[in-house]
Symmetry: C2
Subunit: 291 residues, 2 copies
């Protein structure tokens, strides 16, 4: 099965929903949010959310898609704020000027705030999902994006800037900065479908390993990828003097580690009795990606 065949339906429906949620507007803030979120990324988090929803037997795809859109809004807000001058000060994102380069710093700040805020009303609009599952899913969304998840990872990233960090700290940073929103995707898919506690734990294990692998591959691509294909300058980790898995372990050990983590992620899927073909394919694709 080709990866595009797996992701195409979710991606297409997601784009339509995002267009509907953020229609063209005179507002600069809304326009900036549209600019950033419709700038088609890989949509990995929404795709994983929907695939875990299916894997656990969920059938209300329209309802689950609201959470997929909410999660993508949170992911996009984090990119907008990360690119700001007081953070990573990145001028390019996915081959286009970053949000603040296009709309100015103030509008970019507000566009990020708006996407983060709106994510929760979008989640609340998931018709037909039982109320208790919605609340549990909203709680996970907030938790994994917060100080114990993504924002916590950001803070570690800042704290170790221009410093030598050991591999434990780097791993904790990856788990929070990258794995947290993937955990969020997989767990929410499970929760909305009414999965068991056992399945929830397996989803978390899967996503933690996947996130670590994903980030290690990102580090490798930052050194080796084609700049045009990657959509942003390569070598930024070296330039910013960042401690990464790669800088600590070298390229061969990093590649090996990413492959092992991918295997670990695949093993975690054994807990699910449903058809795992699609999730497996996505997992392998993410290991092999070139950008």
């Amino acid at each position: 099965m080709k990866i595009d065949n797996i992701t195409a339906e979710t991606v297409q429906k997601l784009e339509m929903l995002l267009e509907e949620l953020l229609p063209e507007s005179e507002s600069q803030v809304v326009s900036a949010a549209r600019y950033s979120i419709l700038n088609a990324g890989k949509r990995i988090r929404p795709v994983l959310l929907m695939e875990f929803y299916k894997l656990c037997g969920g059938e209300n795809f329209k309802g689950a898609l609201c959470f997929a859109a909410a999660l993508e809004m949170i992911h996009t807000y984090s990119l907008i704020h990360d690119d700001l001058p007081c953070m990573d000060n990145d001028d390019m994102r996915r081959g286009k000027p970053s949000c603040h380069k296009q709309f100015g710093e103030t509008i970019a700040l507000l566009a990020g705030d708006m996407l983060l805020t709106k994510a929760f009303s979008v989640a609340c609009g998931a018709d037909g999902i039982p109320d208790d599952r919605m609340i549990k899913a909203i709680e996970v969304l907030s938790y994994e994006a917060g100080e114990n998840g993504m924002i916590g990872g950001q803070e570690i990233d800042l704290a170790i800037e221009n410093k030598e960090a050991d591999i434990e700290i780097i791993t904790e940073m990856y788990l929070k900065k990258t794995s947290a929103l993937l955990v969020c995707a997989c767990k929410i898919g499970c929760i909305l479908a009414g999965a068991s506690e056992n399945e929830l734990q397996a989803a978390e294990k899967y996503a933690e390993s996947l996130g670590l692998a994903f980030q290690i591959i990102d580090d490798i691509l930052d050194k080796t990828a084609d700049e045009k294909q990657l959509g942003k300058p390569v070598g930024s980790d070296d330039k910013n003097n960042k401690s990464t898995y790669l800088s600590k372990k070298g390229i061969e050990a990093s590649r090996k580690n990413a492959a092992e983590l991918t295997q670990k992620a695949l093993s975690a899927l054994e807990a699910f009795s449903g058809d795992k073909t699609a999730v497996r394919e996505i997992t392998l694709y993410l290991l092999d990606r070139k950008y």
Copy 2:
């Protein structure tokens, strides 16, 4: 009834809950959030939320208080981000250095993001409130804080900077920038208590008028108040060349307008059959405040 007697219990319980939700931490981001939110403001929004909850017969004060804390977190995030250099660039807030002056711009940005994010998991923790009411309340929280509410007001504020704005635009800005979170407080209090549609509409009317009066009084205080008592420099609207109700209408007409709006707010309370004494007192206090 003295205003302190009305607000004391909510304020005290709120402080305790906030201490519990944001305990002392090695994290700079959490410390910055604590610094800003424990820097006791008037807590008007939490107080109004709790008073409307009581007015509509609510009895699960502990549950409702979670939403009060969530709302105060959103209010505090908005102050942190508003004070940032790319926004209003304010050095002082409530008599102390603003968050970015104390912790730096990056940590302040993340502390704001964190408070906004965490507000929603705090709301989800409201034990004993029926699930359907929780979801409705979370939706209102997100809506009023978003591009149709508070963030929309921020955008108007930026758009009319250094420009002559007419009174309609200024009113729309006040309704979004200031009324929206008050509407949020009063409506959520009603929703959590299971109020009728009629009561919800009355709460909205009340809070819209109250917010306009509140903002007009803020404009007047910015010109006339004692700097030390206000906790921030006076004259900032003139300095920033801001169009305000006051700059358009003058001080006498503004005072009269604030009093009329306060009366309008009080009239809206007629829709409620419960004991309105406390809400009335708060309303009159806000009109007469000196800082």
